[in-house]
Amino acid sequence: MAKIRPSLFLERKSYRQRRVRDAARLMPFLGALLWGVPVLWAPPGPYGISTSKAMLYIFGVWLGLVLISLALSRWLEPDADTEPTEGN
């Protein structure tokens, strides 16, 4: 059993890598979705959205996406297109 354990660890690590890659792939869709929201906003009028609020929303999304992307790029293995290898 002792022999299996390191390979279990590797499996888990490569599993984690795959999920990070999935997350990286999802990023543009998340961005498109969030930035698609303004399409639903009401036209100018009593329910209209003020420009300052719109800016806060759009730039807020921007900042959030940048931070997530920063984190993901840290987690991704450098040569992640090949199968993950042992060690860092």
Binding site: R25, W41, T51, L65
Partner: protein, 895 residues
């Protein structure tokens, strides 16, 4: 005039600084200390050429007119960068493995190295980029005018056309200087990229500085500014939803397909991992660039008189507040944005124009690919320089004739829509193996025509191409052909209309034609390689192992890559095949690597055509097609293992075959050697015996006859002795029993001695020497070295069959070796004999005038081996060429 002069001075000073930056970067790169030049930060900053003067000036104007819609231009690229794992990573990998030089090169390369496709993409790119360059010229010019407006000493800006002309000429000069310094194998330009990175910092800093001034200096803080925004004309969210989505999509597409973006994203990329940093850093940059746009716009609307140009608010707001320093900084920011875009766009377009249009035409005119005379590199560089000048000239002309009237934003969007037509063939090419050349071409043509018809021509206004009549009722009154309401669907925003129809029909035609046509083998191979670039970065594409003339290939390669690079490339390739010398076997792998090496200089399609010309035919072998047919990953992996093994076996077999061939030849030569020795000894002996019998038996010989016959006996005896001497010399050398007499000396003296000893100067063979280069101290066996030189000179004297024979002696130093080349202008040695000439008794021609017994070169080879050097035949030099190489330590020790 004071302020204006200052402005010009600042511009010149700034450009001088850029020159310095570019120059230092090039120098550092040349010295191999360029590591820091290629950091992810520099890569990210270089991407900022996306933000041109259109962004710098235009975004504020855009915001002043249409509120937050300007953000779409930045959101699109942000989404692309966030999704780098999907597309960009693949593009960059393909660009690196295939040595792609431009977007036209990528598309042509993917679809079977088709030159027609490359030409079309190039033309579309030039048409699409020209207005954009005009836009940059216009923005620099109008920023000059804005300054003039606030300078009471200047009545009116002198002549804005002249300003634009000066700017265009200056930019052309800079681009030529740093964009075409060398024909870099990878088309990377360290100096330019560094200069652009500096400009990126300047423009961001300038815009942020103006923003900070507006928010805190004029507006009185964040909350106050937000309140002012809401109170302004653009205080409410107001969006044409179709435009919001279409523009985000359009800017994302343009980010990938603009020639200049492709240049910095893919071609100039040095390390795939830089994308990892850029994936979050570039969106940050875009965010900062767009953050202060609305505050500046709102402040401008409030402060500036009605009717002033909102595109110039970035400049005029600080000027109106008396902040001349800030205005100057802002001016430099705009100047940076304009110049960096124009420089990179000109480089990218000139590469495309010269590789895909000028070079193919030139090659056809000069009688075809390989056998052209002269150094092709000069032609390529000249073509690039002319193209750069041409591209800028086009931009200038467009500026002159469009009158610079339209708002900045609309010109930019027209360009975007034009280059976005590349998106279907680009994405289809890297994700779908079924995409074919005809599909790509058909789709592109359809998209391009719609774009020209419905967007580009109407943009010139009703007076030039499209009359109001056509716009309202369609050409010849055909309603469904109305340019801005195709197929009878009217009421759409013109831009959205064009983007939708052109890209939709482009994609549909692309897919349908691709499905209906059958790709050529080369297309299928390239398709498999592009789509599966991560599975096999190896290379199953290529040439069939036909009989190509390696020597012809070398002649061609020398003209494109330069002699030094080509020779070392061929030598390396020969070594990996286990062969000595400069001529590798024309295996498919070798040809492919050669083609790729060449394509870095002249583009894939041209390189393919040139190699094809020498190979005789461009075919793909059955094995190559099998590699394409393998669909499953398992098969891929298994076959790649087999491939590695079989490659190894092939290599071993080739080495064995070479060894066996040599052994067989040696044994044949052994027989021939005995027979030759017999012949060489018996011939003089016949004369000796015959005449000695005559002297003994014949009566009544005259005094003259006696003298003559004794003389013959004597000279034939000497001939015998010489032959025996040579044989002994060779045997001693071969057995390594020779003792060397190492001495200090000078190469020029040894050559001089050899030339005198052969007496060629009186005998009609003209010597071509550069004495200054020969002055090198050496430490070796001078007599033995002279013996080698004498042999080579005497050979040239005997065998050079040119009408006016000459022999060039060239001395160079390379890789720790002193190289002395002896090149004559005769017909040279046929390549099938080149391997044999250093063997004993291997006179190529059967001519007796050779005099010696055919041992000379064999002795030379042994001598050079004893001196730790070598002598080899150097193919592809025009005549017979021998290279004597001597280790440099032999030269060093003498110093």
């Amino acid at each position: 005039m004071g302020a204006l002069n200052l402005l010009v001075a600042v511009c010149l000073g700034y450009v001088a600084m850029l020159f310095l930056v570019a120059f230092m970067a090039e120098r550092a790169a040349a010295r191999g200390r360029g590591g820091w030049l290629r950091s992810p930060v520099v890569y990210t900053l270089s991407l900022s050429i996306y933000c041109t003067a259109w962004t710098f000036y235009g975004a504020v104007g855009y915001a002043a007119r249409s509120g937050l819609e300007y953000l779409t231009i930045y959101i699109g690229p942000t989404l692309v960068m966030l999704g780098w794992w999907w597309g960009l990573r693949k593009l960059v990998r393909i660009g690196r493995t295939q040595r792609i030089t431009s977007i036209a090169d990528l598309i042509s390369s993917r679809y079977g190295k088709s030159n027609s496709l490359a030409v079309f993409v190039t033309i579309v790119a030039v048409i699409g980029t020209t207005p954009y360059i005009a836009l940059q010229l216009q923005s620099v010019t109008s920023s000059f005018s804005s300054f003039a407006l606030y300078d009471p000493s200047v009545r009116q800006i002198g002549d804005s056309d002249a300003t634009a002309l000066w700017v265009a000429a200056g930019l052309a000069l800079f681009t030529v200087l740093f964009g075409t310094r060398n024909l870099d194998a990878n088309e990377r330009h360290h100096g330019v990229v560094m200069a652009i990175a500096v400009e990126a910092v300047v423009k961001l800093f300038a815009l942020v500085a103006v923003g900070v001034f507006v928010v805190w200096g004029v507006g009185g803080g964040v909350s106050e500014t937000l309140a002012r925004i809401d109170a302004s004309d653009i205080g409410q969210w107001q969006m044409h939803n179709g435009r919001w989505a279409a523009l985000i999509f359009l800017s994302a597409a343009a980010f990938l397909t603009l020639p200049r973006m492709f240049q910095v994203l893919v071609v100039e990329n040095d390390d795939e991992n830089h994308l990892r940093t850029a994936s979050w850093a570039f969106p940050t940059y875009l965010m900062l660039m767009s953050l202060f746009v609305v505050p500046i716009a709102v402040t401008g609307l409030e402060l500036m008189p009605k009717g002033s140009n909102p595109d110039q608010f970035v400049l005029t707001v600080p000027l109106s507040q008396g902040r001349d320093g800030l205005a100057m900084l802002s001016f430099l920011g705009g100047f940076s944005s304009a110049t960096s875009m124009v420089i990179v766009a000109a480089i990218a377009l000139s590469t495309m124009v010269s590789n895909h249009i000028v070079m193919p035409i030139w090659l056809t005119l000069t009688g075809g690919g390989a056998m052209i005379s002269g150094d092709v590199r000069h032609v390529v560089l000249l073509a690039r320089r002319m193209s750069i000048a041409g591209v800028l000239a086009l931009g200038y002309l467009y500026y002159r004739f469009s009158g610079g009237g339209a708002a900045l934003a609309s010109i930019g969007l027209i360009s975007f829509a034009g280059v976005a037509q590349f998106l279907p063939p680009l994405m289809g090419g890297i994700f779908w193996r079924g995409a074919t050349r005809l599909g790509a071409l058909a789709g592109l043509v359809v998209g391009f025509v719609i774009w020209v018809y419905s967007l580009l021509l109407p943009s010139f206004g009703p007076s030039l191409f499209m009359s109001a009549e056509i716009l309202a009722h369609g050409p010849l009154g055909i309603g469904w052909l109305r340019p801005q309401a195709l197929f009878g669907i009217g009421g759409m925003n013109p831009l959205v209309h064009t983007v939708m129809w052109s890209l939709l029909l482009n994609s549909v035609v692309f897919v349908v034609v691709s499905l209906a046509t059958f790709p050529k083998p080369m297309e299928r191979l390239q398709g498999a390689q592009f789509v599966n670039v991560f599975q096999h970065s190896g290379n199953p594409q290529g040439w069939s192992g036909g009989i190509a003339q390696s020597e012809d290939l070398m002649v061609m390669a020398q003209r494109i890559l330069g002699a030094v690079e080509a020779q070392s490339f061929f030598q390396r390739e020969a070594a990996t095949q286990g062969l000595a010398g400069y001529l590798p076997e024309p295996s498919p792998e070798f040809l492919q690597r050669l083609e790729r090496e060449l394509s870095g200089s002249v583009g894939a399609a041209t390189a393919h055509a040139m190699v094809g010309q020498i190979m005789g035919r461009a075919t793909v072998s059955v094995e190559d097609l099998l590699a394409v047919a393998d669909e499953t990953a398992q098969m891929m992996e298994y076959s790649s293992q087999l491939e590695a093994k079989s490659a190894e076996l092939t290599r071993t077999a080739r080495q064995l075959r070479a060894a066996n061939e040599k052994l067989t030849q040696l044994s044949v030569q052994k027989d021939a050697f005995l027979s030759q020795i017999s012949h060489e000894l018996r011939t003089p002996m016949t004369s000796i015996r015959s005449f000695s019998e005559i002297l003994r038996d014949a009566d009544g010989l005259s005094e003259a006859e006696l003298d003559k016959y004794a003389g013959i006996i004597h000279s034939e005896a000497i001939r015998l002795t010489r032959l025996l001497d040579d044989l002994l010399d060779l045997s001693v050398l071969e057995n390594g029993q020779v003792s060397l007499n190492m001495q200090h000396g000078n190469l020029s003296e040894v050559i001089e001695h050899a030339v005198n000893a052969t007496g060629v100067q009186t005998a009609g063979l003209r010597m071509v020497r550069v004495r200054a280069l020969e002055n090198i101290p050496i430490f070796t066996d001078l007599d033995r070295l002279a013996q080698v030189f004498i042999n080579l000179i005497a050979n040239a004297q005997k065998y050079c069959d040119a009408e006016h024979p000459n022999l060039a002696i060239r001395v160079t130093r390379r890789d720790g070796y002193l190289l002395v080349d002896f090149v004559d202008n005769g017909s040279g040695i046929p390549s099938d004999s080149q391997a044999l000439i250093f063997e004993k008794f291997s006179r190529i021609s059967d001519q007796k005038k050779a005099g010696g017994a055919g041992l000379g070169l064999a002795i030379c080879r042994e001598i050079m081996a004893r001196l730790d050097g070598a002598i080899s035949y150097l193919p592809g030099q025009g005549g017979a060429a021998f290279r004597v190489s001597l280790p440099m330590k032999a030269a060093k020790a003498a110093e």
